[in-house]
C-alpha cells in the first residue's frame, strides 16, 4: 500500500482553463521586478476569509501548497501617480492605500509622526 510514500509528489491542483490563457505579468515600474500574477482586484477567488482593501496584483502563494489557499500580494498602483509598484519597502509604502516611494516622500507631512520616521529611513 505504501510503496510510493517516498516520492513527494507535488500537490495536484486543477489548473484547467488557466494554462490556455496567456500569462499575465506584473511589472514594478520602480525596480523592474517582473512576475506572473494570477489576479487583479479586491477579492481573489482563492481567498476565503480575507479581502483586500485596495485593488492589488495577487498571485497564489508560491511557497505553500495551493490547497492552503494563501496568497502573495505583489503590488498595486500608487494612489497618487497611478504607477504600478511592488511591495518592496524600497518601492512602495502602505498607509491606507499604496504610495510609490516618490509620492510617499512628497507628501510625507500628511502622515503621523512615527510613520514619517519610517519613511525617512528609506533612501531613494
Amino acid at each position: 500500500m505504501d510503496t510510493k510514500d517516498s516520492k513527494e509528489e507535488p500537490e495536484k491542483y486543477d489548473l484547467k482553463g488557466e494554462t490556455e490563457e496567456k500569462s499575465k505579468y506584473f511589472e514594478c515600474e520602480n525596480c523592474n521586478l517582473k512576475v506572473k500574477y494570477d489576479y487583479f482586484g479586491l477579492e481573489p477567488p482563492f481567498l476565503t476569509k480575507y479581502k483586500l482593501k485596495e485593488e492589488s496584483f495577487v498571485m497564489k502563494d508560491p511557497f505553500t501548497s495551493v490547497k492552503k489557499g494563501e496568497i502573495l500580494i505583489l503590488g498595486a498602483n500608487c494612489i497618487k501617480c497611478k504607477k504600478c509598484v511592488c511591495k518592496d519597502p524600497n518601492c512602495s509604502f502602505y498607509f491606507n492605500g499604496t504610495y510609490c516611494v516618490v509620492c510617499a516622500k512628497s507628501c510625507i507631512s500628511s502622515f503621523p509622526l512615527n510613520v514619517q520616521e519610517k519613511l525617512n529611513k528609506i533612501v531613494i
Binding site: Y50, E54, E70, V115
Partner: protein, 1129 residues
C-alpha cells in the same frame, strides 16, 4: 483611538466606522454585564487552535503564538498614535462582531469561554498584523530569488540566447560551472513562449535537484510546471512545461516517436562530458532534425572543445553563445619533479614535492589569510600515502586538516570537504579527478596538480579493464587550475613543465573510445539502426571495437546473422529493453525463468555497486574475525549476499531511535566489520529498481504485497507519519546547519554520532516497512546447496566465458601469492579482500581427492572429481592484474553446460572448451554420459528461456512444476561424479589439437544420439561433425591412451542392458551410443527394438590381422593405421 483623516476614501470609511462603533458599544455593554470570569486570550491557546485555522487561515499555530507574545510585549512599550489598521492592506471579509460569535463556546474544562470583546478586537488585529508580516517575509523571499537570478553571469546573455534561438534550429551554449546555464536556460526558453521543454542530464540525481531548483525559481514549487522523469520515478503531468530527464530516458522516447513529438525544445545539458549514450543521443538528435521540423535543439556544455560540436552541426547552422564563468586571476607555477635516474624506486610515489609546496604556503601566506588547498592525485594508494605524510607534517603546528576525497568514500565522509576549518587552520583536500568537475568546493585558493589521472580503459582483444595511470589532458589541467579561482585570486602549482603541458593531449578522450560497445550496439540494432558504420557518430568508434562488440553479442546469444544483416534474438530483444549491463541483464532475465528473483536481484545489485568491504579493512584483523561467520565458501558474491542479509536482520531488530543500547545500530554493526553501510542502502534501492525494470519489460508481475491486518496497517500508518515528520525535521536541520566546523582530530572518528539518528536509516524505513523487510530477508537467503548452486548457475550463465583457472604451481611452497589464468590474460591475482585469499584451501585438491588414473593413462596432471574453476565478474588492471568478485564452480560440468564450442574425440574421453581448457576424462563412458546430460539440459534451458520471453508474465505459473523438475535435474547434473584432469591450452597447442578431417560419416547411420532434431553435418573448420550447436564430435587429434581405450571398447562384444541385444565387436563408440539412445527411446515409447541396424558394423571395416600383436580385428582403414602405430610403439 485617533480618528484620522488620512483616509482617501474617508467618507465610506467614516460611515462604516460609525455603524461599526454603535454595534460595538452594544456588544461591549452586553458582554461586560454577563460574567466576571474573563480570561486573557492567551489563556485559551488550546481552544483557539481550530478558530485560528478555520477563521484566520493560519498555518503554523505555534509560530503565531510566538508572534503574538512578542507583539503584545512591544505594544506595552509604545502606544500607537493612530489606528494600526491603516498600515494593513488586508482585512477580514466579515466584521469582528460576526467573527466573535464563531469563538469556541466551552473551554477544556467545560466552562464557558469568556473573552472581553475589546481583547478580541485586539486579537483580530494581531492576526492581521501577523498575516501582514507573513506577506512581507514571503515577498522578501521572492525578491531574493529574483535578485539571485539576475546576478548569475548567464543573465546578461538572456536576450542573446532567445534571439539566437529564434533564428536557428540548433543552439550551443557554452559556459563553465557556476554560470547558471542548467537552471536558467530552461526558464528563459519557457518565458520566450515555448510550451514543452525537455532537458537531459547525465546523472539521475541532477534531474531531481534541478527540477526542484527550477520549480522554486519559477515560483512553481507547488505546481506541476516543472517536473522530472528518471528511470523509475516521474513527477510529470499534462501541464508540465519543463521536464528534466536522464539521457537514457530521452533515448528511449526517441524510439517511440509520439512521445518525442510533444517537445518543442530539446535541451541536452553537459554534452562535454562525452558519455557513451550522450554522444549517441546527439547523433540521434541530428537525424531527428531532418525528420521533424517542429522542434529546436539546444546543446549546453562547459567551454571544452566547442569546435567539435560546431563542426558537427555546421550544416544545421548552429548558433553559439559563450558565457564566461566567474573566475578570478590565478598564478601558475610550473614545478616539474626532477627524478634521479639512479634512484631505484624512481617510479614510486614521492610525497616530498607536495610537502615542500605546503611548507611554502605556510611560509609565504599568513595564516589569517583564508584559503584552502586542493591536491589532485591519480589514485587511492597515492591519496592514502600523502594523507599520512601531510598529517605527519602538521603534527607540530596543527594548522592543516587533511581530507581525502575519492568516489569510494561514503557520502558522509565526502561531505566533510564542505565543512569549514577552525580559525587559522587550512583544509588540505587530497582528491582524485572527482573534484575536477563533479564536486565543487568553495574557498579553494591553492591547487597542486600532479598532472596524472587513473583512467579506466577497456581493452578490446583482451576484454579487460585497465585502470592505468596516464597524464591528464590540457583541458583537465585547465579545469584543475580553475578550481583555485572560484572565490578569489588563487595559485596553481603544476608538478610538470610547461613543455610537458604542451604535449598533453588537448581533450580527454570520449567514452566511446574507452568502453565496450555491446550495449550501445544492442540498443542501436533494437532501434533499427542496423547500418552502424553509416550512423553520424559525433566521433566514430574504432572498427575493431565494433566488431568485438558484435562477436560478444553473438556469443551471448543476443544477436544472430540473418542473410548478412544483424538481427536480435528474443533474448537480445529482452536485453535491449533492460537499461543495465549485459551480464546483469542476462541474470535478471534468467531469474524470472527460475523463479528465484529476489536473490538474483540482490546479487545483481551487489555486483553493480562497489564492494561492501571498505578499502580501509586491510589488515584489520578484528573486523575480519567478525566478518568470518558470514562468509560463504562459494565465493565473494555469495559472501556479499550474506552480509546484506545480515544487515537487513540488524535493521529489522534495531528500532530507529534505539534507546535500548543492547541492540546495536546497523551503522555500528557495519563499521565494526569494516563494511560500507552506504553500499547496502544503494543495494536496497537498486534491487527495487531492477524489480521495476523486469516489471516494465513484462517479465515479472508486480509482487503482491504481503497483506496486512487492519491493526498492522494502522501501526504502519502511524510509524510512517512519525518517520516522515522525522525526515522533514532532519532535512530542515541539515539545511539550517549547513556547514559544520571541522574538528582537529587525527582519526576523524566521531563517537558521539553513533547514537544519532541517521537520515538514510529514516528513508530506508519509509520505503521499506517491516513486512516487506521480512519478505526481502526470506527471499534473499540461500541456505541449501540447491539454492546456492542455482544462484551460481545463473551468475555463471551471465558471466561465462569469464572464467579463470589456477596456475599449476600455486601449491608449491615457494609461492606467496596465488596466480590465475584466464583465456585472454595470464598471471592474474585475487583481490586482497576476496574470500579465497584468506581461504585458499577451498580451491586446493587434497591428497584423498586425487584418484589413481586407469591403466594406460598417464598424465602429470592429477585426476580428480573435485577440480574447480573461478567465475569472475571483471578483470581490473592497476599495478597488478586482479580478478574482481569471484566464485567457484566444478570445472567439467560448468564447461559442458556453458561452453560455446565443445570439441571432443571419437571416444568422448577428451574435450576442448572454447580454445581455452582441455579436459581428459580417462574413464570410458563418463564423458559421453555427462555430455549427454548437458545437452539435454542446455536444450531445456533454452526452451524455458524462450518460453518465458515469448509469453511474459501471464503464463508464469503454468510451468512452475516443469521448472522445479528442471532445477532438480540441473542440481543432479552438477553433482554427477566424473573424474578428469584439466589443462590450460597455450597458443601453440591450438595449432595441433584439431584434426581438421571429416570423413567419418560417409554412408553412415545419421541418427543423432544427442539431439534427434539436429541434423549431423560436417565441420569444415575444425574437422569432425557438429552434433549440436555447440558440440563438435571427433575433431580432436587423439592421443595414444585414447586410442587404446577406444580400441579396447571396440574390440569387445557387449550386451545392451536394455534390450539384451549383443553389440558385436567392431561397432564404434558412436554406433554403440546410437544404439543405447535409440533403444532407450524405443523402450520408453513401448516399441520393440529393430535389431539389424545396430548389429551392422561399419561399411568400410575389414577384417585385419596385425603383424605385431598377431590379433585379428575388424577395423576401418583409419583404425588400422592407428592400431599399427600403437602396436609399433
Amino acid at each position: 483611538m485617533s480618528k484620522g483623516n488620512y483616509s482617501n476614501n474617508s467618507k465610506y470609511f467614516c460611515d462604516e466606522k460609525r455603524k461599526h462603533d454603535q454595534h460595538e458599544e452594544r456588544l461591549t455593554k452586553r458582554k461586560r454585564s454577563s460574567s466576571s470570569e474573563y480570561k486573557k486570550v492567551e489563556y485559551y491557546k488550546r481552544e483557539l487552535t481550530r478558530f485560528l485555522e478555520d477563521q484566520g487561515n493560519i498555518q503554523s499555530i505555534e509560530d503565531f503564538w510566538k508572534f503574538f507574545e512578542k507583539y503584545e510585549n512591544l505594544q506595552k512599550l509604545k502606544k500607537s498614535e493612530f489606528d494600526r489598521n491603516f498600515l494593513l492592506n488586508v482585512d477580514f471579509k466579515e466584521k469582528p462582531s460576526v467573527i466573535y460569535d464563531r469563538l469556541p463556546v466551552l473551554d477544556k474544562n467545560g466552562r464557558k469561554v469568556n473573552i472581553v470583546y475589546e481583547d478580541f478586537k485586539e486579537f483580530i488585529l494581531i492576526i492581521k498584523v501577523y498575516n501582514d508580516f507573513q506577506q512581507r517575509t514571503k515577498f522578501a523571499k521572492l525578491k531574493k530569488i529574483e535578485k539571485m537570478k539576475c546576478e548569475l553571469p548567464i543573465s546578461q546573455y538572456k536576450s542573446e540566447i532567445i534571439s539566437k534561438l529564434n533564428e536557428s534550429r540548433v543552439l550551443l551554449i557554452a559556459g563553465d560551472t557556476g554560470c547558471g546555464k542548467s537552471t536558467q536556460v530552461p526558464q528563459y526558453v519557457l518565458e520566450a513562449g515555448y510550451k514543452k521543454i525537455v532537458c537531459t542530464q547525465p546523472r539521475r540525481i541532477a534531474c531531481i535537484s534541478l527540477s526542484k531548483r527550477v520549480a522554486y525559481e519559477t515560483l512553481s514549487e507547488f505546481h506541476s510546471t516543472v517536473g522530472y522523469q528518471i528511470k523509475f520515478e516521474k513527477s510529470k503531468r499534462a501541464d508540465t512545461a519543463i521536464i528534466f530527464m536522464t539521457e537514457g530516458l530521452l533515448l528511449r522516447q526517441a524510439s517511440e516517436e509520439t512521445t518525442l513529438n510533444s517537445y518543442d525544445i530539446i535541451i541536452l545539458d553537459e554534452v562535454h562530458e562525452r558519455h557513451l549514450f550522450s554522444d549517441f543521443l546527439i547523433g540521434v538528435m541530428k537525424c531527428l532534425l531532418y525528420k521533424r521540423n517542429d522542434f529546436k535543439l539546444i546543446l549546453m556544455s562547459a567551454t571544452i572543445n566547442l569546435e567539435l560540436f560546431q563542426n558537427y552541426f555546421v550544416n544545421e547552422h548552429v548558433q553559439v553563445v559563450q558565457v564566461p564563468g566567474r573566475l578570478y586571476p590565478i598564478e601558475v607555477h610550473y614545478l616539474p619533479i626532477i627524478k634521479d635516474p639512479y634512484e631505484r624506486q624512481r617510479n614510486q610515489f614521492n610525497c616530498t614535492p607536495y610537502l615542500q609546496i605546503i611548507q611554502t604556503i605556510d611560509e609565504k601566506y599568513p595564516s589569517n589569510q583564508k584559503g584552502d588547498l586542493l591536491i589532485f592525485l591519480n589514485g587511492f594508494s597515492e591519496i592514502s600515502k600523502l594523507t599520512e605524510a601531510v598529517l605527519n607534517y602538521s603534527q607540530k603546528k596543527l594548522n592543516w586538516i587533511v581530507l581525502p576525497l575519492h568516489s569510494t568514500l561514503s557520502l558522509e565522509d565526502q561531505d566533510k570537504v564542505f565543512d569549514y576549518p577552525p580559525e587559522g587552520v587550512r583544509k588540505c583536500i587530497i582528491s582524485t579527478n572527482i573534484a575536477e568537475t563533479s564536486v565543487t568546493i568553495d574557498g579553494i585558493r591553492f591547487v597542486i596538480d600532479s598532472g596524472k589521472v587513473n583512467r579506466m580503459i577497456y581493452y578490446t582483444g583482451g576484454s579487460f579493464n585497465k585502470l592505468s595511470e596516464t597524464t591528464i589532458s590540457q583541458d583537465s589541467a585547465k579545469q584543475r587550475m580553475g578550481r583555485a579561482g572560484r572565490t578569489g585570486p588563487g595559485v596553481c602549482f603544476r608538478l610538470y613543465s610547461e613543455e610537458e603541458f604542451n604535449k598533453f593531449e588537448p581533450f580527454t578522450p570520449a567514452e566511446i573510445h574507452l568502453v565496450p560497445l555491446e550495449s550501445l550496439l544492442l540498443y542501436m540494432i533494437s532501434l533499427g539502426l542496423n547500418d552502424i558504420s553509416n550512423f553520424p557518430f559525433l566521433e566514430k568508434p574504432s572498427v575493431k571495437s565494433l566488431e568485438e562488440a558484435v562477436e560478444k553479442l553473438k556469443f551471448t546469444g543476443a544477436l544472430k546473422l540473418n542473410k548478412d544483416s544483424l538481427e536480435l534474438t528474443s533474448l537480445g530483444q529482452a536485453l535491449s529493453n533492460l537499461p543495465v549491463d549485459l551480464t546483469i541483464g542476462k541474470m535478471l532475465i534468467l531469474s524470472t525463468v527460475f523463479g528465484n528473483v529476489n536473490s538474483i536481484l540482490a546479487l545483481a545489485a551487489l555486483l553493480s555497486v562497489q564492494s561492501p568491504i571498505s578499502q580501509s579493512s586491510h589488515k584489520n584483523l578484528e573486523a575480519e574475525t567478525l566478518r568470518q561467520p558470514l562468509e560463504s565458501s562459494h565465493g565473494d558474491p555469495l559472501t556479499y549476499l550474506n552480509f546484506y542479509k545480515e544487515w537487513l536482520c540488524i535493521k529489522q531488530s534495531s528500532t530507529l531511535v534505539s534507546r535500548n543500547y543492547e541492540s546495536e545500530s546497523s551503522r555500528t554493526w557495519s563499521r565494526k566489520r569494516c563494511l560500507e553501510e552506504q553500499r547496502f542502502y544503494e543495494v536496497t534501492k537498486l534491487l527495487e529498481q531492477f524489480r521495476d525494470i523486469l516489471h516494465d519489460a513484462e517479465l515479472l508481475t508486480k509482487g503482491i504485497e504481503p497483506s496486512m491486518s487492519s491493526g498492522e496497517r494502522s501501526i504502519r500508518h502511524g510509524e510512517l507519519k512519525n518517520l516522515k515528520s522525522m525526515r522533514y525535521q532532519m532535512k530542515h536541520d541539515e539545511k539550517s546547519r549547513r556547514r559544520k566546523q571541522l574538528k582537529y582530530d587525527n582519526f576523524g572518528e566521531c563517537v558521539e554520532e553513533e547514537h544519532k539518528t541517521d537520515l538514510r536509516d529514516v528513508e530506508f524505513r519509509i520505503t521499506n516497512d517491516f513486512k516487506k523487510l521480512q519478505s526481502l530477508l526470506n527471499d534473499t537467503s540461500a541456505n541449501s546447496f540447491k539454492d546456492v548452486m542455482l544462484l551460481k548457475l545463473i551468475l555463471t550463465s551471465g558471466l561465462y566465458p569469464q572464467i579463470a583457472v589456477e596456475d599449476e604451481h600455486n601449491y608449491s611452497k615457494t609461492v606467496s601469492e596465488r596466480l590465475f589464468h584466464t583465456k585472454f590474460k595470464n598471471f592474474v591475482f585475487l583481490r586482497p579482500t576476496s574470500y579465497f585469499v584468506s581461504n585458499p584451501e577451498i580451491l586446493e585438491l587434497h591428497d584423498d581427492d586425487i584418484e589413481v588414473p586407469p591403466p594406460n593413462y598417464f598424465s602429470r596432471r592429477p585426476v580428480s572429481r573435485k577440480h574447480q574453476l573461478l567465475v569472475y565478474q571483471s578483470i581490473l588492471e592497476t599495478k597488478k592484474v586482479y580478478l574482481v568478485n569471484v566464485f567457484r564452480m566444478p570445472v567439467l560440468q560448468t564447461l559442458m553446460l556453458f561452453g560455446k564450442r565443445i570439441c571432443t574425440n571419437s571416444s568422448f574421453t577428451k574435450f576442448v572448451f572454447d580454445d581455452f581448457l582441455s579436459v581428459d576424462v580417462p574413464y570410458f563412458g563418463q564423458g559421453s554420459k555427462l555430455l549427454k546430460m548437458a545437452t539435454v539440459l542446455r536444450k531445456k534451458w533454452k526452451v524455458n528461456l524462450e518460453h518465458k520471453l515469448e509469453n511474459p508474465v501471464r503464463s508464469c505459473n503454468v510451468n512452475e512444476k516443469d521448472v522445479f523438475c528442471f532445477v532438480e535435474d540441473l542440481i543432479r547434473y552438477m553433482n554427477t561424479d566424473v573424474s578428469y584432469n584439466v589443462k590450460r591450452l597455450l597458443t601453440a597447442d591450438l595449432k595441433s589439437i584439431y584434426n581438421k578431417q571429416c570423413k567419418f560419416f560417409e554412408g553412415e547411420d545419421l541418427f543423432n544420439p544427442f539431439d534427434d532434431h539436429f541434423v549431423i553435418n560436417e565441420n569444415v573448420t575444425f574437422g569432425g561433425v557438429n552434433l549440436t550447436e555447440n558440440v563438435i564430435y571427433n575433431c580432436l587429434v587423439d592421443e595414444e591412451w585414447a586410442w587404446d581405450m577406444e580400441e579396447q571398447v571396440v574390440s569387445c562384444d557387449a550386451t545392451c542392458d536394455l534390450c539384451g541385444v549383443r553389440l558385436m565387436k567392431g561397432a564404434t563408440v558412436f554406433r554403440r551410443l546410437q544404439h543405447e539412445v535409440r533403444c532407450l527411446q524405443q523402450q520408453t515409447s513401448g516399441k520393440s527394438v529393430e535389431e539389424e541396424i545396430t548389429l551392422k558394423t561399419k561399411s568400410n571395416a575389414k577384417s585385419f590381422e596385425c603383424d605385431f600383436c598377431k590379433k585379428s580385428l575388424l577395423l576401418t582403414p583409419v583404425e588400422i593405421l592407428r592400431h599399427k602405430k600403437s602396436c609399433v610403439s
